[in-house]
């Protein structure tokens, strides 16, 4: 009878398409919004994720997340290096400053200063040039989005000169740094150059990046660093989580996305529930006559659930496909949308939500067909 159930479903073209559209719409809306939200939140931790060699980030105890920095004195570096289990520890500067091109374009940039000797903290993903070129005097690496923002329409090229706080900076590389939360260009330079650009201050070191000795558990080491130096030390995972958590807790962003996702869910459930109920109601007489002819309640139940599952699967496939296509297209259209993608976790979560929608949607309908009296078939 499964074939009969499917023929019934596909035979009612209008309702079938309505149901598939409802599920597809809700799948698309939910997965799209959750993906953008997840992408946006992971952007808040971009610089942490890009500094891949570091196991542990050490900072002033008052720092809660990566964008709010309490500088430390350079002497803290030595104290961190002195902790047992530290393989190496290097300074890291992070700040916002203003840059302008020779053409006069003025632009706020995220300035990242990495250890002169080791260049630890530079993203390994380069579009043009090499991270090692940072060792040249006045050298900076800018991210692709920043380059295209400051020199719109121009081909990627090295050797361009900008001024940061009236000091010369030469572009020696273009990176594919992870998109930051703010869409400012990301500029890497040597720690010493960064100090030049911002001018000398008593406290200027933003973070100390630490690598644990092989075999050393980063969590334990972080605990030890904190205990011995009085600074705050977090594994990169914990620091990224703290940063993302900060944005989730302290901004209205999750609420906005949450509302849209909830709307997708509710509209999906309502539209699909309603349409499916009407579909079953219109076929009630047919189901009744099948019952009269000796089709068991179990079989009828299976038929209705099969119809529901087919609607859910087809609608979900369309919706999730649209969502993936959306990110594929938008990342090509706008560089500011790069890095947003459909995560498998989101696809899975949306599938679960769709399952819940379809279960809710079929509950009333299933009840209706289960209790329908086969005797209705004799009524006019």
């Amino acid at each position: 009878m499964n074939g009969v159930a499917l023929t019934m479903l596909f035979g009612d073209r209008a309702k079938y398409l309505g149901l598939v559209f409802g599920i597809a719409f809700s799948t698309m809306l939910m997965s799209n919004q959750i993906s953008i939200f997840a992408g946006l939140m992971s952007r808040t931790a971009s610089q942490i994720l890009d500094a891949r060699e570091a196991d542990i980030w050490v900072m002033d105890p008052r720092v809660l997340y990566v964008d709010e920095i309490e500088p430390m004195t350079d002497t803290q570096l030595g104290r961190v290096r002195g902790v047992d289990g530290v393989e190496w520890a290097v300074p890291f500067y992070k700040g916002l400053t203003v840059a302008h091109t020779q053409g006069g374009v003025l632009q706020q940039v995220i300035l990242l200063g990495v250890d002169d000797a080791t260049l630890v903290g530079v993203t390994p993903r380069m579009v043009l040039g090499s991270a090692l070129s940072l060792k040249q005097p006045d050298a900076i690496i800018i991210d692709r989005a920043g380059f295209e923002f400051m020199w719109p329409g121009e081909k990627h090229a090295l050797g361009k000169v900008i001024e940061i706080n009236d000091r010369r900076a030469v572009i020696v590389g273009i990176s594919e740094a992870s998109a930051p939360f703010t869409t400012f260009p990301v500029v890497y330079t040597k720690y010493s150059s960064a100090m030049n650009y911002i001018g000398l201050m008593r406290k200027q070191m933003s973070f100390v990046l630490v690598r644990a000795r092989p075999g050393e558990d980063p969590h334990h080491l972080a605990g030890r660093i904190a205990a011995e130096t009085g600074l705050k030390a977090l594994t990169w995972q914990d620091f990224a989580a703290a940063t993302i958590g900060y944005y989730i807790k302290r901004t209205g962003i999750p609420v906005n996305f949450g509302i849209t996702v909830a709307l997708g869910f509710i509209v999906g459930a309502a539209v699909v529930g309603q349409t499916f109920y009407i579909f079953v109601l219109e076929n009630l007489r047919q189901f009744g006559s099948l019952k009269a002819m000796g089709v068991s309640n179990m079989t009828i139940l299976r038929m209705v659930l099969l119809q529901a599952m087919v609607v859910a699967s087809v609608g979900y496939a369309f919706g999730i496909g649209l969502c993936a296509a959306f990110f594929e297209l938008t990342s090509r259209v706008s560089i500011n949308l790069r890095g947003f993608e459909l995560l498998w976790q989101v696809a899975l979560g949306t599938a679960c939500a769709v399952l819940v929608i379809i279960v809710i949607a079929s509950l009333a309908s299933v009840r209706k067909v289960m209790v329908v009296d086969p005797a209705i078939v004799f009524r006019g």
């Binding site: 009878m1 074939g3 009969v4 009612d12 009744g288 006559s289 009269a292 000796g294 089709v295 006019g380």
Partner: protein, 240 residues
Amino acid sequence: MTDPSMAVRCRGITKSFPAGDGIVEVLHAIDLDIPAGELTMLVGPSGCGKTTLISIIAGILGPTHGTVEACGVPLTKLRDSEKVAFRRKAIGFVFQQYNLLPALTAAENAAIPLVAAGMPMAKAAQQSAAILDRIGMGKHIDKLPSQLSGGQQQRVAIARAVVHAPNLVVCDEPTAALDAETGQTVMTILKEAALAADRAVIVVTHDNRIYHFADRIAAMEDGRIRSVRTATAGQFLEVA
């Protein structure tokens, strides 16, 4: 006690429905035998309980009191699931409203009882197509119900009622939705296709223009069987 030539044996059937605060009894102590190999008509004024009675005979409704034996099976002793299986195997239905599935073709609709019994649709539809062919519907096997006239749809329903070779075919007002001429055609086909030595056909009807198709007429009135007459040379004679 059990007479194998009797397809249906009802004894002391009463049926009550809840109505308002109390209950109303719509069938009162009905005794009725329906022999195999005959077309029995159940006639009577509207509301006298004809539909209720054949629903009970077909195992769709349970009586409040009394026993029904259909095709040798003590229906009133069966559990619900056994009744479902009994209906699937032993009964063919023809309804006033045809009740065909709108998305299925004529052949697929007529094949439903076989599919319900587990036969793959392709094979079942072949069998039902052969029956449709025999009752003059050969050209229409691939049409949807919406592409067929009422008489043609009722013929599909007749094919569906006999495709699985049931022991009993029950029809509720099979001609009520058809014009007089089509009604005659449909009854002719029903009698030819459905009646067999080991099968009884029960037709509930208001329509005295089709009485002449009956081998036996049970007249009901107000929840009781008033008379049962058999046809002899076109005349209906009262049986006890």
